[in-house]
Symmetry: C2
Subunit: 447 residues, 2 copies
DNA sequence: TTGTAAGCGTTATCAG
DNA sequence: CTGATAACGCTTACAA
């Protein structure tokens, strides 16, 4: 079927090979004559719309059984203009609102209103539009809609390293909430590189994202300013930006660490080592400060060599443990600023033939999924990861929907102590308070 | 500074509270008089542009030192139209190409060309435009550009569960490649729910994504058709869609399983159990089929009760191991279709007091990050995860850039055996072939 | 080398 | 209740 015959169309249809022509919508039962064809040629598909012809030849609400064929012969010039005569146009297969309007015999405005469930459209019309829309598979272009409305229905999620076991759980929480509003998630993995971070932020702003969540990192001042200037709501997670106050979700690191130390002390430990997290991370600072405070509060051995620097990686936990065990006066317990380092320490101790928890106790922070594996069985502080993502997303959505001038809100989640198998009284301690049975998921120590 | 004085603007500026007015760009050294102001009121920021006034009062390329103030008094009607007189317009803070054009004293077309590095623009002009663009922080709206060009510079990544430790590594690989072309990643977490999958696909299509990667799942026929009809390149990973041939990245499951079985046999095992993956997953099928083939090839005990169903979760590995150990004739080795199940099995065996590898050997598949932890130390088949993501993204980008009619390509990655501490000769076997030196520390003592 | 103008597909406004 | 129309911000023929 040489559809490409018509005059005005040739310039757009280009050299057409053999096409199979299939009626997609329209026809006797559709109220508007033969209208939509699907052209298939190999993998390529086009949708031909005779939208304009409809306007040209027929009275608006004429019901059906029109001359159901032969129309494609009529040459016609301009295309796209909804008024006068027009040629069939070949589009990249997506029907537009104009198509749908023509198909239903209403104006595009009405289609828009009908689809948006605006009150000012007759139920009958609305149903017609909806039905036809489904029929031809119409979906509004989000580019067009975004351009018009200045929104994009997507939110940017900036993470440092998605492969860090802590991160995906948070992402999961975010996704869950965001999905409920049918917004999309744009995942930005910065590798903690300033340049990549900046570039991603720019890209997100160009995309007119509705909002942004930044996980465990800070944006530099300029980026923050850009985001603020664009009026994009921002929620920071785990790490506050200095000098900028934004909505924030975090965890009470202080009380988390405190619980761990308290628990260790209750077991009888006096020399408790700490493996610090990454430099310049506020959560790392918080946790370390809390450790120091707790040590002081309990009047423990404040030997500064008990605090060693790590970087949140398993390797750093490994080497931290080795250096601690090399100390002339070993600690009897190691508290790490995250689970990965605690697991690293566990590995090192195992290697060194030091028994856990008989010789040394180990406590982590985060409670990543594998921490509960029977062979690891790590006592740790639970960081509610999914809840974190959930809260961040909620905060963001509220901010998007609501007043942007309200003061920033914070959600600080509560950590909890999860006692597993890597903690016990220190060696040669004349049994202190009774140790809880392992595997119990209690919080706080029995005391 | 009562900027809102001018006539035509009032309808848009709305009831303005106190604003602080800051000169952003323009001024004596900018070639176009005072042009850009930033209005700040509380958290809200506006950018005021006198773009049109420029057109109205001044000759085009007039250099500088114009009447540098007092312009805002002049009432002016229409705004946005580049010709005649116009009022200052208040936009949601983003300068548009028109602003930049006016600021540079050139047409928007020239700005566009300059920014796109088109050859037909004088170097001088190009540099001017670029400089000014940076100065006022101009960035093209991707909605507008996307609308015009029908692309979006984002690619959809459909995963089942981002929290599965296998997934983030693949995502990481994808992100890495995609980022190089400055495309964004839209993360779609389907929870393996058909309905969510469909909805996400639709949403992605609405967004005019440039391409799509589907990880470890299949889209139903209708979704596949939609994607194909929209002409969106699609790469499937780990799992082929039946009836649709697409670009594909996977791993040679067969040879992976074969390697594992061969290795176990070489250690002397004859009763090798298999923990199957999720029903209806092609990779699970492949791996199970490969197991069966290998068992047959080696003439091993084909006892069907040695094959138990799992679902890729740790729990299912746990219960699989328990049921296997409850058999009257126990296997001497357990091969699991993924690491999570293998780890679950490890846990169960530990619980049951069965020594690994002394009593039973365990082999996993995937080599997730924690498998190498000294306390787990799981012998496994490495699945190159990052490379998988990398390859998928490459394939996709090539397809996007290149001819979409070329036949689909497949990349099948090679697995490799990673011998760690969970494998050894079966008990009471009069030393078979020499066992490889166990490179890493043993495991399974537990306490 | 630059400018003009026509869209891309929506939705909001306002008029019927 | 429905329709015409004007944006939204950009790119790309085509014209100058």
């Amino acid at each position: 079927m040489p559809v490409s015959r018509s005059r005005g169309a040739e310039s757009r249809i280009a050299p057409l090979p053999m096409f199979s022509v299939v009626l997609v919508a329209g026809g006797p039962d559709c109220g508007a004559g033969l209208l939509f064809f699907r052209l298939q040629s190999g993998a390529k598909t086009f949708l031909i719309r005779f939208a304009s012809i409809f306007w040209w030849g027929m009275s608006r609400n004429r019901p059906r059984e029109e001359q159901a064929n032969g129309q494609q012969g009529g040459g016609a010039p301009a295309n796209g203009t909804v008024n006068g005569t027009a040629a069939p146009s070949v589009s990249g297969v997506r029907p537009t609102i104009l198509d749908l309007a023509a198909l239903c015999g209403v104006s595009p405005a009405t289609v828009s209103n009908a689809l948006a469930d605006k009150p000012n459209v007759k139920a009958e019309t609305r149903d017609l539009v909806r039905r036809k829309a489904r029929e031809i598979g119409y979906h509004a272009s989000s580019a067009a809609r975004g351009l018009r409305l200045g929104r994009s229905w997507s939110i940017g999620l900036v993470v440092g390293d998605i492969a860090n076991p802590f991160v995906p759980d948070v992402v999961r929480g975010v996704e869950d909430v965001v999905w409920r509003e049918r917004k999309n998630l744009i995942l930005c993995n910065t590798d903690f590189q300033a340049e990549k971070k900046t570039a991603y932020v720019r890209s997100l702003l160009d995309k007119q994202i509705d909002g942004m969540i930044v996980l465990s990192q800070i944006l530099d001042a300029q980026d923050m300013e850009r985001v603020a200037a664009a009026g994009i709501p921002l929620v920071t997670v785990n790490r506050r930006a200095p000098d900028f106050s934004t909505d924030y979700v975090g965890i009470d690191n202080q009380s988390g660490v405190r619980m761990a130390v308290d628990y260790l002390v209750s077991l009888g430990h006096r020399r408790i080592a700490f493996v610090k997290g990454l430099f310049r991370s506020s959560s790392a600072d918080d946790r370390f400060a809390a450790y120091q405070a707790a040590v002081q509060a309990h009047g423990l051995d404040g030997d500064p060599s008990l605090a060693v620097q790590g970087d949140y990686s398993m390797e750093s936990g490994d080497s931290a443990a080795r250096s601690l065990m090399a100390l002339s006066q070993r600690p009897t317990a190691i508290l790490a600023a995250n689970d990965l380092m605690a697991l690293g320490a566990l590995g090192a101790l195992h290697d060194l033939g030091i028994r856990v928890p008989a010789d040394v106790s180990v406590v982590g922070f985060d409670n990543i999924q594998l921490a509960e594996h029977p062979l690891l069985n790590l006592t740790t502080i639970n960081h509610p990861k999914r809840e974190t993502g959930d809260a961040a997303a909620r905060l963001l959505l509220q901010r998007i929907a609501g007043d942007r001038n309200e003061p920033p809100r914070s959600v600080v989640l509560k950590p909890s102590l999860i006692v597993r198998g890597t903690t016990a009284p220190p060696p040669s301690t004349p049994k202190p308070r009774r140790r809880r049975p392992v595997t119990v998921r209690g919080t706080g120590d029995g005391g």
